[in-house]
């Protein structure tokens, strides 16, 4: 948890504290130079995914010509 048995904090090399231990896989960071998906100027690849109500959302159709922000996050569970 937050504090180790010797009293030290679970603080990573960037100075961040979190409840899980520093070597927990949930705390792995993006490696330097990782491409992190489509590049600036590329069209985002199509996808169709269900929303919380089960409605299938076809991303580019659903946008309807609007600008968008697509957030990838780890989990709503933890």
């Amino acid at each position: 948890m937050a504090v180790n048995e010797d009293g030290s904090l679970n603080r990573d090399k960037h100075g961040f504290d979190a409840p899980a231990s520093v070597d927990h896989p949930a705390r792995t960071n993006i490696p330097d130079g990782h491409p992190a998906g489509p590049a600036i100027g590329e069209r985002l690849p199509d996808f169709v995914l269900p929303d919380a109500q089960g409605r299938k959302v076809d991303f580019h159709n659903d946008r309807g010509g609007a600008k968008s922000a697509v957030v990838f996050y780890r989990s709503a569970v933890w």
Binding site: M1, A2, V3, L9, N10, R11, D12, H14, G15, F16, D17, A18, P19, A20, S21, H24, P25, A26, R27, T28, N29, I30, P31, H34, A36, G37, P38, A39, I40, G41, E42, R43, L44, P45, F47, L49, P50, D51, A52, Q53, G54, V57, F59, D62, R63, G64, G65, A66, K67, S68, A69, V70, V71, F72, Y73, R74, S75, A76, V77, W78
Partner: protein, 304 residues
């Protein structure tokens, strides 16, 4: 994102959020946290993989964690083309919603009620420092910006690097207490100005010039797992510049602007992650969903 939803709407930006969660937890989470935009269920991380952002350091035998993306945000234009990407070198670092909106709009939109310090106006030149993003508070890992805005009268300009001897390039430095991290300033595009009789083209800015310094607090200043040592942080913004017209220059000026920014007490430190840690009010208990996630992903629990 939820807190800034109205700003996204006003800017005409549609929001989508994608995770590997099942629909059941997304529905419960959206209701408990009043999320007004679609939470999409990429249950086998198919889109996450196809986008090339699967966290490949997490292995299949890591149980519930396997299948997560490197967290981040893509911003697109009306054609769906990427205008900006917000992926950070630490999963705890997240860009403020306002910075994402700026990327979509292609300009910096400062709130009227954002914390701001202004230098006395001199020769018609206005210089201010605004704390940009969120509700004017600092929170561990959440990236905001100090926006130094120069408002220059017609005919005057200030300089980028490099400058010849005897002239002063514009410089902005942000400092604060231990744990306040300031990154390299983001400069607006400059215009080349060729002086008569000189081989060197100067880089100049005129009109309204925004120099943005990304800042965030780390755990030394704003831990989320122990009580805060202080309620606020004093940020100092040192600005140096020299304004000229095409013929003569004003004397170089230095301004020191200070902002006292409250630290955001927003977490529930005593709770495990799936029981409320990381939430503002700790009102979403995900224990039943965690059980289902463990069944789906394998039981390896790894102390989340």
């Amino acid at each position: 994102m939820r807190d800034a939803y109205d700003k996204f709407q006003a800017a005409g930006i549609k929001l989508y959020a994608i995770s590997y969660d099942d629909r059941e937890v997304l529905a419960a989470y959206a209701e408990a946290e009043e999320i007004p935009f679609p939470l999409l269920s990429d249950i086998d991380s198919e889109v996450i993989r196809r986008y090339g952002i699967l966290n490949t350091q997490v292995k299949p035998d890591d149980g519930v964690v396997y299948g997560i993306p490197y967290p981040g945000v893509f911003v697109t234009d009306e054609d769906g083309r990427v205008l900006g990407k917000f992926f950070q070198n630490n999963y705890k670092k997240r860009d403020s919603a306002e910075l994402i909106i700026d990327a979509a709009l292609g300009r910096v939109v400062l709130s009227d009620d954002a914390p701001r310090a202004s230098a006395p106006e001199d020769d018609g030149i206005k210089v201010s420092a605004t704390f940009h993003g969120g509700a004017g508070t600092l929170r561990q890992g959440i990236i905001r910006q100090i926006v130094v805005r120069f408002e220059l009268p017609e005919g005057l300009h200030i300089y980028g690097q490099p400058v010849p001897d005897g002239m002063v390039a514009t410089r902005v430095e942000v400092s604060g207490p231990p744990g306040l991290v300031a990154e390299a300033p983001i400069l607006p595009p400059s215009t080349a100005l060729q002086l008569k009789g000189s081989a060197v083209a100067l880089q100049v800015w005129s009109g309204v010039v925004d120099i943005r310094v990304p800042i965030h607090a780390n755990g030394i200043l704003a831990s989320e797992v122990r009580p805060l040592d202080q309620d606020s942080a004093k940020i100092t913004v040192d600005v140096r510049y020299q304004a000229c017209d095409d013929i003569t220059c004003l004397l170089p000026r230095s301004e020191t602007l200070t902002l006292e920014l409250p630290l955001d007490v927003s977490d529930v430190p005593a709770l495990p992650i799936h029981m409320g840690h990381g939430q503002r009010e700790g009102r979403f208990d995900a224990r039943s969903h965690m059980k289902r996630l463990m069944q789906r992903k394998g039981a390896k629990y790894r102390d989340l």
